[in-house]
Amino acid sequence: MNELRCKVLVIGGGPGGYVAAIRAGQLGLDTILVEADRLGGTCLNVGCIPSKALIHAAGAAHGLREPRALNAIGLSIGPPKLDFARTIAWKDSIVTRLTTGVGVLLKKAKVRTLLGTATIIDGKTAIVRADTGETRIQAEHLILATGSEPVELPALKFGGDILSSTDALALTEVPGSFAVVGAGYIGMELGIAFAKLGAKVTIVEALPKILPLYDAELTQPVVRRLADLGVDTLLGAKATTHSNGALKVVGADGKVQSIAADKVLVAVGRRAHVSGFGLATLDLTMSGAFVRIDETCATSMRNVWAIGDVTGEPMLAHRAMAQGEMVAEIIAGERRAFDPVAIPAICFTDPEIVAVGLSPAAARAAHGEIRVGHFPFRANGRAMTLQDDDGFVRVVARADNHVVLGVQAVGAAVSELSAAFALALEMGARLEDIAFTIHAHPTLSEAFHESALTALGQPLHI
């Protein structure tokens, strides 16, 4: 068995783990990263990036297949032809480019990368099993970045026509009918994408609304778009079994119906990846199903750190990256703590939803009197020229000192506005700070400006 020693051992090469390793390497710490599958983790391989590629392709295909918008601008074309295998190959090429890039960055940071499955022996030792043999690694610091995995339903176990999000992104052809169980952001993003690719999509959600984590005002434009796309939504309904291209669903009224579903995507959530690699031997304090951490990502064992999805919600790549960077710097001797004002969250549905900070209801609960400014994209010139003016920007601020507590938006391409929203929150902006910042014309970002003006009672364009 090979024996290796290092200062920092990172288990998991997803966005949390590889960022931690790169930063640790940059800071001169002798670092080893162990990845069981492919660098980039869920995010790059079977999550954020491939889904966005698919969503982009679906949007393009949909634009051609439903040429109303094209016709409106005087464009007419013949019936489009989609070679889905090439779509997937294109998506894979992006994934490969990115994951290869991660490997290069790790190398550049002088991080040693081992492909293989790690088994933790104790807080400072792990054994990595690879095809080429076993390696025993002794480290001063252990960073757990093992991520999360999709949860399956007992009656709908993954395999065959029952797909996890990973499987759904690897389909080689567009299914004729596609059922999505779970109307969280993963289910909604993929459901809408497959609808645009031509599948007959049905969404089954046990709760009475889609995207249950967002308020009804924010999800309303998405609900409208689902209707346009011909997506059926069964709310308060439970999927039971699937056989012969049909999914049995018990509706809110108790009636059982059978819906056409060549494929079924089960997207009912993700759970921390905490088993199968000897984590139990450390006997770390857990927080429910997650590893408990403090504000420095320290676990209950000295010099054992945990970052990303394994530590709980929100399971977002950018949170994991920020934690990974921070932990590397802490190990290098810097004083750091994870203290963001807000972690932005985005649904790449159609239209897109951005939420940063507190919703009006949460803000009211936390701070009492608030001001809410709301500006619709139908009053925004740029949205009109992009042929998509559904949605709005909403800013939530304290009534007493006008400090911004949250910003939400729904609309085409609003994901890019998240940067401005998050910056406003982190900088402790007041409504006046946004109102007195000149926002370029004509852009969607003007809606942010106007929402602040509206909250101050001085809107210009409404």
Binding site: V403, M427, G428, D433
Partner: protein
């Protein structure tokens, strides 16, 4: 309009002046008839002064702590509908200008500015430099940009303790720099904020009297203290057996009445101990009477009520008289002659007694007898250690007029009386 001037009344026999210890009103207040406007202290009695007229307060005759002579103007009240300048305790002549105040610091203060309120003043919080905004409400998170938070973290600064000068209390880089550059705080144990509170209390009334008397005694008298150990086993047995038969008329006895009897007997042989020394006139006055002052803790501070003519009192009479005057002192209802005129003082801290004390003489007396606590000690007696109840007497004497030999002999005499308590009750 009728301006009425209320003068410092004659609040007790032979009292020439009184100290203002409290104002119940301030300039501008409306008062009704018989409302208490001030409390003044003479010797050791505090008297509340009511106003005989209703109206609004125009001026106060002094600040808390000022001493006014009897007859000096205490307060001036605008009493509508009353004849002007009708002075209740002074000449009835309306046209006469006011007599000049006979005592210092009795000048009438103008209506404005009002005298400072007597409440204790708290020290202002330490200024945090020019970059200090308003303090955040409790529990609110500090507002600061990520770069400021990072800098604070690296500097080891908890932003919760930094005030923000920016909009909505946002902490800016200069705020943080100013906080870091401030002078170091005194070291403190983790988790405990330094208590910066300072309370300034004006020393007035009783406390001032006590302070002045103590300082005067310590400054003028050449104190010497003498400590002797006394075996009180027999006395305690006697006391226990008397207390076992206590009745309502003859309640349980403390040690002090026995000691008073002892002192009465002992000073009969040592007249130089039961005396006053008027050092201004270099006169020693020896007394036949034994007026025993009993140092007593009261809510207002130390007082010395007096058991008068202890030489005439039996044990229970002595005890009940001591109880009566102590209680009067605690209730602040003691008459003047119950608080003055002692010829020797007895001081005891009861069960707190300690092992040794160095009491300060109650001037112009020349001796004070202090009682320490009783402890059971092994005592060598007749070839063996036996447990005995033992107590120290810590006494001070004025060495200017009491020689050490006399003092020591006096205490030895007292000790003998106490150790053989039957002798306390045998006529000389």
């Amino acid at each position: 309009m009728g301006v009425r001037s209320i003068k410092m009344p004659d609040v007790g026999e032979g009292v020439a002046e009184a100290e203002i210890v409290e104002w119940a009103v301030k300039v501008g207040d409306l008062v009704h008839e018989d409302q208490v406007v001030a409390a003044v202290m003479t010797d050791k009695a505090t008297v509340e002064i009511p106003t005989p007229v209703a109206g609004s307060v125009l001026a106060l005759g002094g600040a808390v702590g000022d001493v006014l002579a009897v007859g000096a103007e205490l307060i001036r009240i605008d009493a509508p509908g009353m004849p002007d300048a009708l002075l209740p305790t002074a000449s009835k002549s309306r046209a006469q200008p006011q007599e000049p105040p006979p005592a210092p610091s009795a000048d009438l203060k103008p209506a404005e500015p009002a005298p400072p309120p007597p409440e204790p003043q708290r020290a202002a919080p330490r200024p945090l430099g020019t970059h200090a905004g308003a303090p955040r409400p409790a529990g609110e998170k500090p507002l600061a940009a990520p770069a400021v938070r990072l800098k604070a973290r690296e500097a080891g600064v908890d932003l919760r303790f930094v005030r923000g000068s920016g909009p909505a209390g946002r902490i800016t880089h200069p705020d943080l720099d100013a906080h870091v550059a401030r002078p170091p705080e005194p070291s403190k144990s983790a988790g405990r904020a330094p208590n910066e509170a300072i309370e300034t209390i004006k020393v007035v009334g009783m406390r001032r009297r006590i302070a002045e008397n103590m300082a005067e005694s310590a400054r003028r008298i050449a104190h010497f203290s003498y400590v002797e150990e006394v075996d009180v086993t027999a006395l305690e047995e006697l006391r226990a057996s008397l207390n076992a038969r206590a009745t309502e008329e003859r309640p349980k006895l403390t040690l002090l009445p026995f000691l008073i009897l002892g002192i009465v007997k002992a000073v009969g042989e040592f007249p130089q101990i039961n005396a006053h020394f008027d050092d201004d006139n270099a006169v020693i006055t020896r007394f036949g009477a034994v007026h025993v002052g009993v140092a007593t803790q009261t809510p207002n501070g130390l007082m010395v009520p007096v058991v008068r003519h202890a030489e005439t009192l039996g044990l229970h009479e002595c005890a009940s008289e001591m109880r009566r005057v102590s209680e009067a002192a605690r209730q602040a209802v003691a008459a003047r002659d119950e608080l003055s005129g002692s010829t020797i003082t007895l001081t005891s801290l009861g069960s707190l007694g300690g092992i040794v004390s160095t009491p300060i003489i109650n001037r112009p007396e020349v001796a004070i007898v202090g009682v320490n606590k009783i402890v059971v000690k092994p005592v060598w007696r007749d070839g063996a250690f036996v447990p005995r109840k033992v107590m120290n007497l810590s006494s001070s004497f004025d060495h200017r007029v009491v020689d050490g030999y006399d003092a020591a002999t006096f205490i030895q005499r007292l000790r003998t009386l106490i150790e053989q308590p039957a002798t306390l009750f045998i006529e000389a």
